[in-house]
Amino acid sequence: MVYLIPEFLLVLVGAVGLVIAFAPSRPRLRAYSLVGGLTCFGGAVVAGYLAYLATTDLGAELAATAPGYLTTTLALDPFSRVFAVLSLIVCGLTFLLSKEYLETRMQDHQPELLAVIAFAAAGMSFLGSARELITIWFSIELLSVCGYVLAAFTKDDERSAEAALKYFILGTASSAFMLFGLSYVYGMTGRLDLVGIMEATAGDGIGVLLPTAAVLMLVGFGFKVAMVPFHMWCPDVYEGAPTPVTAFLSVGPKLAALAALARVFSTAFPHEVARVAWEGVLFWGALITMTLGNVVAIKQSNIKRMLAYSSIAHAGYMLVAVLVTLRSDLALSALAIYAFAYVFMNLGAFAVVTSFSNRTGSDALHSYNGLARRSPYLAWAWAFFALTLVGLPPTAGFLGKAYIIMAAWDAGATWNSPMFWLLVVLVLNSAISLAYYMGVAGRMFFKPPAHDDPVPVGGGVGTAIGLCLAGTLLMVLAAGPIIGAIQNGAVFALH
C-alpha cells in the first residue's frame, strides 16, 4: 500500500478541490492552488523515494508481501514510481501556472478545474503502472474523461466547446478501437495480465489476429500520444482549450500513454509475429510523426498551434525510445529522462504563453514582437526553453535526445540500417525545429514591439516558469539516479 501514496495524494487533492467548490464560505482559491501544488511537490519527493525503495531489498520485501489484488493490477517497479514522480510534478506545476488564469479569466468553477487536473494526474500515474488490461483501460479512461471535461472548461467560449467536442468524439472513437483490440487479446488468450498474455502467445498457432489486436490497441494509444495519423485533434484542441489546460494536455496524457505503450507492448507482445507488426507500425509512426510535427509547426501563426505541432514532434522522438524497448536496456531510462525533460521544457513554454495571454489576451505570434523590451523575464525564459526544446547542450532536452539516440544505437543501429536512418531523420528534425522555436525568440528580441506597455508576470505562473527553468538545468543531476533506479529495478524488463 505504501507504494500507492502518490496516487492517494492526487485523489485527495482532487477531493479537497471538490469540497472547496461547494463549501458554503469559500476558502480562497489562492490557498488551494498553493497548498495543492506544494502537496504535489512533496508527494513527488515521496514518490522519488519510493522509486529508490523499489530497487532495495526492503522494497522487494514490501512488493512480495503486497496483497495479490494490488500486484496483479499494478506494477510496483521503479519505472512506475518514476512516472508517479512525473505525474505529481505535472500536477503541481499546472496548479501553479493556472492560478493567475483562474483569477483573471474565469468567472466560476475555478476549484473544479484544479480538482479535475488532480484526478487526471492520478489517472496518469495509474496508467504508468498498470499491468493488466482492465486497469489499463480504467486508467486511460480516467485520464481521457478528465481531459474532455478540462477542454470544455470555459464552456461559454465557442472554441473551447468546439475543442472539447472534437476531443470527445475522436477520443471515444479511438477508445472503441482500443477496447476492440483488448477484447481480441482476451478472447485469444483468456488472460488479462500482460505477463499471462505473453505466456499464452509464446507458442505458434496464434495466427494473424494477435498482430491485428496489437495494432488496434496501438490506435488507442496513438491517439493519446498524438501519433500521426491520429494527431488531427491535437492542434484544434490545444488552440481552443484554456491555456493552462492545454499545458496539462500536452504533457499528461501523452507521457502516460507512452509509458503504458512501452510497458504493454514489450511485456505482452515480445513474440515474433505481433512484435514485427507493432515495431513496424511504430517505426513509421515515429518517423512520420516527428517530421510532420516539425514541418507543419513552421507555418503556424498561433503560438498554441505551433506548440501543438511541436508536441507532436516530441511524441515522435519519444516513440523511438518505445520502439527499442525490447532491443535495448537503456530504452526505458531514455524514455523516462526525455519525459522529465519534456515536462519541464514544455510546461515552461506553455507557462510563458499563459502568462503572456493572461495580460494581453492574444496568442498570435506577431503579438510576441519585441517582448524582450516589455518583459525580459518571459523573453529570456522562452529563449531558454526554446534551446531546450531544440535539444542543444547543456540542457535537459539535449540529455533526453542523447539518451534516446544512445538507446537506439545500443539496439543495433549500424550503418545504413533502417534504425540508422531513423536517427538521421531525428537529428535533421531537431535542426528543423530550430527554425520555429528560434523564430519566436527572434521576434521577441529583434522585432520592434507594437507598443511598450510592460507585461507583468503573475506570482504563480512566474514561480512555475522558474521551477521549469531549474528543472531543465538540474536534470543533468537527476539523470544518474533515474537510470540507476530503472536499471536496478529491472522488474519490468524481465517480464
Binding site: V11, A15, L18, V19, A21, F22, G207, L209
Partner: protein, 132 residues
C-alpha cells in the same frame, strides 16, 4: 474440425450476410407495394406523434442520467461486496489473517468518494429543475 480455427467464423459471417440479403430481396420481389400516410408515420407505443424528434432537449435530462450512474456504480460494487463480506469475515476469524475491519473501511472509503461526487452535484443544484 480441420482448417483454420477462424474458418467457421468466416462462414458464419458470410452466411449471415447472404441470408439477410436474400430474405430482403425475396420479400421485395414478392410483396405488394401500396404506401400510405398512416403506414409511413412514426410508431411510438400507440401514441400519436406530436412533432419531430429532432429538437433540443433540456440538458437537465443528461444531468439526472449522470447522477443515476453514480448510484449504479455504487450498486454494482456494493452487491458483490455484500455477498462476499460474510465469507471474508469467517475467513479472517478462522485463519487469523487480516483485520475484519479492513474490507469495511475499504468500502467506506469507496462510498465516501462516490458520495462526495453526489453531494457536490446536490450543492451545485444539479437536481433543481429549471423551467423557462
Amino acid at each position: 474440425m480441420t482448417g483454420h480455427p477462424y474458418l467457421q467464423l468466416l462462414i458464419m459471417t458470410v452466411g449471415g450476410i447472404l441470408f439477410v440479403a436474400a430474405a430482403m430481396i425475396v420479400s421485395w420481389l414478392l410483396r405488394p407495394n401500396r404506401p400510405s400516410e398512416v403506414k409511413a408515420s412514426t410508431y411510438e407505443c400507440g401514441e400519436e406523434p406530436v412533432g419531430s424528434a429532432w429538437f433540443q432537449f433540456p440538458a437537465q435530462f443528461y444531468l439526472i442520467a449522470l447522477l443515476f450512474v453514480v448510484f449504479e456504480v455504487e450498486a454494482a460494487f456494493l452487491i458483490p461486496w455484500a455477498l462476499k463480506l460474510g465469507d471474508f469475515l469467517h475467513h479472517a476469524a478462522a485463519e487469523g489473517v487480516g483485520s475484519p475491519w479492513f474490507v469495511v473501511v475499504e468500502m467506506a472509503i469507496f462510498l465516501a468518494i462516490l458520495i462526495l461526487g453526489w453531494v457536490y452535484a446536490l450543492r451545485k443544484g444539479a437536481l433543481e429543475w429549471i423551467t423557462e
